[in-house]
């Protein structure tokens, strides 16, 4: 059972406590931020389809699908951490927070590795043309020209990766506080809002993966 404790007593008006309302409003601003980035990508792709490659030819879809699964798993571990502290299980909280940190850091690591692979194929942010190795095509074959694809791809995934990295640092701070006993079943607002941020980062990736890697 999820119990509403004193630290999360709802305030008048929105009927949620201040920490949660603040985090939600911040996340809504992030929605508009990513709307600008993804919207620009959608519009540019619609307007200049010749400047964009077919995602499966340039980008490594299976690797990124695995990475998507890693991030979804990290959302599960984060929610398990929250469920643990709801039961005042300190060990469970620390264990699941650590698992979330490991999975989040793995996601960033795999993405960084993906970047190095793409760089080595010539797919860099502002390349005028590049000789990306199309999956199944001859090595060195030129896929497309123009800087739009690289610029939009690296801007979107780079900013998302930065959000994940910041989230990992915040999770480390949350774990450090958890080890000091800062959170209890009666004081878990900090864990809850950390969870909100982390799930939002996962939600954005779900959309990014679809728009950038699959469509």
């Amino acid at each position: 059972m999820t119990t509403i404790t004193a630290d999360r007593a709802p305030m008048a008006g929105m009927k949620v406590y201040h920490l949660k309302l603040g985090m939600w409003v911040f996340l809504l601003s992030e929605v508009m931020f990513f709307t600008g980035l993804i919207g620009a990508y959608v519009i540019l792709r619609f307007a200049h389809p010749e400047a964009f490659g077919v995602p499966g030819e340039v980008l490594n879809v299976p690797l990124t699908a695995f990475n998507t699964f890693v991030l979804i798993c990290s959302s599960v571990t984060m929610v398990k951490a929250f469920a643990a502290i709801e039961q005042n299980d300190q060990q469970g909280l620390q264990k699941w927070l650590l698992a979330t940190i490991v999975l989040g850091a793995s996601f960033v690591g795999v993405q960084a590795w993906e970047y190095t692979l793409l760089f080595s194929e010539g797919f860099v942010p502002m390349a005028e043309s590049y000789h990306a190795i199309a999956r199944g095509a001859a090595e060195g074959s030129e896929v497309i020209g123009g800087p739009l694809y690289g610029a939009t791809f690296y801007t979107m995934t780079g900013f998302h990766g930065a959000h994940v990295s910041i989230g990992v640092f915040c999770l480390c701070f949350t774990l450090w506080r958890a080890r000091k006993g800062a959170y209890t079943a009666g004081n878990l607002g900090g864990v809850e809002i950390m969870g909100l941020y982390w799930h939002f980062v996962d939600l954005v990736w779900i959309l990014l993966f679809t728009f950038v890697y699959l469509i």
């Binding site: 809504l28 307007a47 728009f211």
Partner: protein, 92 residues
């Protein structure tokens, strides 16, 4: 549901299974249905992505158990986002 009431713990693992299945379905859909017109490919993939996003928001972010006025606040950027993209795309 109003804040302050207890609620059963959400089915986290079931949601995880659905998310995993939808992810696999998306990838297979994109890889196997390449002959489909681009528009319907996009519709199918976006539908599955939105479904996953809603599951994460409703259960992992606990929105399902929050006051309706928070739902309204959270949903408020969505029409703005749609308007932004649709209006600018029509310029082309």
């Amino acid at each position: 549901m109003e804040t302050g009431e207890e609620h059963k713990s959400p089915p986290y693992m079931m949601v995880f299974v659905v998310l995993a299945v939808l992810t696999v379905a998306e990838v297979l859909f994109a890889l196997l249905f390449t002959g489909l017109p681009k528009f319907w490919l996009a519709v199918g993939l976006i539908f599955m992505a939105v479904w996953k996003a809603v599951l994460v928001a409703m259960y992992y972010m606990h929105l399902r158990f929050e006051p309706k006025r928070l739902w309204i606040l959270v949903a408020s950027p969505i029409p703005l986002a749609i308007i932004l993209v649709v209006v600018v795309i029509r310029e082309f």
